[in-house]
């Protein structure tokens, strides 16, 4: 009887030890093996048909979001780093003159609320006196012309820049102001809430305050309030679904990603160009270009089942910083076989340089209007897919 008890105790001790040993052994011997990965379900492609268009032309209004990297990142650093709320950075147009990290949406907008969108020159002058590095802001914005298969042409704006002064001049340079006034531009898509894509909103509102406006549903309350304070008279379309078709061959893709300086989510544009393939256009592409490409591969149907082109800020080394994971992208971009790559803005000059060194089909620019490198499709440059 006593022996049995001892045996039972030993048996239980053995079981307890064995359970842990067996679990850890299985974890170690199986988890990172080919057999383990062979059992993962294969990707089921959805081939969602969003039509096709004949061509897409992008006119780069401005890709120079800021002009001095050290000032920009220095301000962010002084405020506490990349997780600090962007509205507290004390940058125009939300500056209150109290210095780094002491800004707020309410105190900043109070100084110019009555002036926007009709007296932007005065509003910006006031803000320049209150803001950190007031000469640094530029902005990102591009005009997209889409031709349908029947020849109908559509114009859209992707993003509206940052500095009222810079964007006003950039709009005038490309004739955007007149297109807006004439209601030729059918919609404004804000890729995300960041300063350099969104804070120049009053400049668009000055010329067309009823333009259909599309934003990600991750916008914070300050961003939604700014849409109202900018003089917008319509109701913004807040996109909640992963994909929304705009016209045949054009869709807005929504990605839920946390982004630096307390921004959440980005939307990008996808086009199916007949006989060519998929074209992706992004503002900053915080979701990652390969993440976006993978989403398109999994979800969308496009001609020739081929990735044709990509344009925009590809958000790889926006502050000319680097990380080995960026090399992962540079290395693995090859297997996606894009035929035309138009990059600028937050792609990073070093990234563009590495793309070119690897022989990728980067469409070069002219380095005009304060764009600094021909490796980029710069301000005033165009690309047609």
């Amino acid at each position: 009887m006593n022996d049995n008890k001892i045996s039972r105790r030993d048996f239980v001790k053995g079981v307890a030890t064995g359970v842990c040993a067996g679990a850890f052994a299985s974890m170690g011997l199986y988890s990172y093996t080919q057999s383990a990965y062979d059992r993962l379900p294969k990707v089921q492609r959805k081939f969602e048909d969003f039509g096709a268009c004949r061509s897409v032309k992008v006119i780069n209004i401005s890709e120079t979001s800021w002009f001095n990297n050290a000032h920009l990142i220095g301000d962010i650093h002084d405020a506490g780093g990349l997780l600090v709320n962007q509205y507290t950075l004390n940058w125009a147009p939300f500056a209150n003159g109290q210095g780094k990290a002491k800004g707020s949406y309410d105190s900043g907008i109070a100084s110019i609320k009555e002036l926007i969108p009709n007296d932007l020159e005065k509003a910006w002058e006031i803000q320049k006196k209150l803001a950190l590095h007031p000469e640094n802001p530029g902005g990102f914005s591009c005009l997209i012309e889409v031709e349908e298969l029947d020849g109908t042409k559509h114009k859209y704006l992707l993003d509206t820049g940052w500095s009222y002064d810079w964007m006003e001049k950039s709009f005038k340079r490309e004739g955007i102001d007149k297109m807006l006034q004439a209601r030729e531009i059918e919609a404004l898509f804000i890729s995300h809430e960041h300063w350099d894509h969104f804070w120049g909103l009053p400049v668009t509102m000055k010329y067309d305050n009823r333009i259909p406006l599309y934003v990600h549903d991750g916008f914070y309350k300050e961003g939604l309030q700014y849409i109202k304070d900018s003089g917008y008279k319509g109701t913004p379309v807040i996109q909640k679904e992963p994909m929304r078709q705009i016209i045949p061959g054009m869709a807005v893709l929504k990605f839920d990603v946390p982004i630096i300086n307390r921004v959440f989510g980005e939307t990008s544009l996808a086009f199916n160009v007949k006989d060519k393939g998929l074209v992706l256009i992004s503002g900053c592409c915080h979701q990652g270009i390969l993440q976006m490409a993978d989403f398109a591969y999994t979800d969308l149907k496009y001609d020739n089942d081929r990735f044709y082109g990509i344009y925009g800020g590809l958000h790889i080394s926006p502050f000319e910083d680097w990380d080995p994971k960026y090399d992962d992208l540079v290395i693995s971009l090859a297997k996606w076989n894009f035929e035309r790559i138009g990059c600028n803005h937050c792609t990073g000059h070093l990234t563009a340089k590495k793309f070119i060194e690897r022989g990728y089909p980067v469409v070069r620019g002219t380095a005009r209007f304060r764009s600094s490198s021909p490796d980029y499709l710069g301000n005033g440059d165009t690309i047609t897919f």
């Binding site: 239980v12 307890a16 064995g18 842990c20 052994a25 988890s31 050290a70 990349l82 600090v84 971009l333």
Partner: protein, 469 residues
């Protein structure tokens, strides 16, 4: 009697006794630590707070090096130069303050004196942010790169330093007196950390710069094909798992089963390498678990699907396991205790694993509401390891430096209790018998079956459970 010279660590020589019965000590200490955590987080780390060190690498480096210094002070130097009598008589609050400040001062000397000024000026430029800045890198990233390198050194040392004391029992220098013992183990583990650093993280740092620094480092790194990334996050994954497993081995596992080995050198060697093997197993599982939940990685993406982030997240998940492990050991008397050692080790392992899942879920559901961090799993500047290690540091200050004050107080262990401590090092409570062997076989099969069930469930979890809305 002053016990400085008898070879017993202060932490082993004392017994923490509850000041009040029931759950009150644990509850009160938890409450105090939570408040202290939040105040100090706000002052030092929070992006909305005073010093805003969560840039993130500056704050990350600081909390990792604080952890190392606490380990050095308590485990390696056994509180030298403070006398045992001072430790026994001084009020815990005073001890906590003095020992923490001494640790912080030593940390500043190591970071500023050794890494930035010595190594950064006479060895490797990337340890010195000013040199990087002078070469054209913005101030912000110069600081981030340098602190990342210094932080990584601490990550490696936070595995090797305690491992030498816990697994290798301080051998062959365990009979030396302080400070010779502490200095020797510190120098040896520092040296080993440096070797591990060079073969794991140096290449990562070398490809931060253009062009890749191929004359001074192996580029592309040798692990690229295996890990599907050139990022050193692959090494962070298994090294963090090693760090966590060392402490599990020391606390909830009571050094079982390696303490059954009677031969000193064999036990120590088996413990040291056993920890590494268990950590590798954990590392591969946690990586695979992510693939099961979120789908396979896509190399070159930046976030959730990126292999480099998934390796990093392995380390983050491991740290989530360390928090309940230490809490159970420090504040719940290593519950449960009323079973045989193998059974209680098994129960604690699964209990803490379940609690780790709970901490993980609560963290991702709520951290952005009060820590000043951003919502989401994968943010390029978000490291849950920082608040977790910050919290662990506070645990360590409370238990190691303050004897668990206010809920607990230290009393000397009796001779009988000291024997029990020694028993943990070389145990004889489990002996090889046919019944044990049968049980072991059944257990191994059950463990493998449990693993099979978990990996079968995880894809379903990925489809149905939404932690972040």
């Amino acid at each position: 009697m002053d016990m400085d010279s008898n070879g017993t660590l202060y932490l082993e020589s004392r017994k923490l006794v509850k000041r009040w019965s029931g759950p009150w000590p644990a509850l009160i200490n938890t409450l105090i630590m939570a408040v202290f955590f939040y105040i100090t987080w706000w002052i030092f780390q929070d992006p909305r707070g005073v010093f805003r060190m969560y840039t993130p690498y500056v704050g990350y480096m600081v909390c990792r090096w604080m952890l190392i210094l606490f380990i050095w002070v308590a485990y390696i130097f056994d509180f030298w130069p403070f006398k045992r009598s001072w430790l026994e008589r001084t009020h815990p609050l005073v001890k906590g303050l003095v020992l923490t400040l001494v640790s912080v001062a030593a940390m500043v000397i190591v970071i500023k004196g050794f890494f930035i000024e010595l190594l950064g000026n006479y060895g490797i430029a990337y340890f010195n942010p000013e040199r990087l800045q002078a070469m054209g890198i913005t101030h912000f990233y110069a600081l981030e790169y340098a602190t990342e390198a210094i932080m990584m050194f601490a990550a490696i040392a936070s595995w090797l330093s305690p491992s030498w004391v816990v697994a290798c029992e301080g051998a062959p220098w365990n009979k030396l007196k302080q400070p010779a013992k502490g200095l020797t183990i510190m120098v040896v583990t520092f040296f080993l950390s440096m070797i591990v650093y060079f073969v794991t993280m140096h290449s990562h740092m070398a490809i931060l710069f253009y062009p890749w620094q191929q004359y001074t480092a192996i580029t592309p790194p040798y692990w690229e094909a295996f890990a599907n990334t050139v990022s050193g996050n692959f090494h962070i994954a298994w090294i963090m798992c090693c760090t966590v497993v060392v402490w599990q081995f020391e606390t909830i596992w009571e050094r079982y089963p390696f303490n059954l080995i009677k031969t000193d050198w064999l036990r120590r060697t088996a413990s040291f390498f056993g920890i590494i093997l268990i950590a590798l197993a954990l590392c591969f599982f946690l990586y695979y678990a992510q693939d099961l939940v979120w789908g396979e990685t896509i190399r070159g993406t930046r976030r959730l699907a990126a292999p480099d982030w998934r390796w990093l997240h392995v380390g983050e998940m491991a740290i989530f396991w360390l928090v309940p492990t230490l809490f159970l050991n420090f504040y719940c008397n290593n519950w449960p205790n009323n079973f045989s050692r193998p059974v209680r080790v098994c129960l604690r392992t699964f209990l803490t694993a379940a609690l780790a899942v709970l901490v993980y879920v609560v963290y991702y559901k709520t951290a952005h509401l009060f820590l000043g961090t951003q919502k989401g799993f994968s943010h390029p500047q978000q490291f849950p390891m920082i608040p977790m290690i910050w919290l662990i540091n506070i645990f360590l200050i409370n238990v190691w430096f303050m004897d668990g004050w206010p809920g607990w107080k230290a009393v000397p262990r009796t001779a009988e209790e000291m024997r029990e401590v020694e028993e943990e090092k070389v145990a004889s409570d489990v002996k090889w018998t046919p019944a044990l062997a049968r049980g072991l076989a059944v257990g191994v099969a059950c463990g493998a079956g449990l693993y099979a069930i978990v990996i079968a469930i995880l894809p379903w979890v990925g489809k149905t459970v939404e932690i972040i809305k």
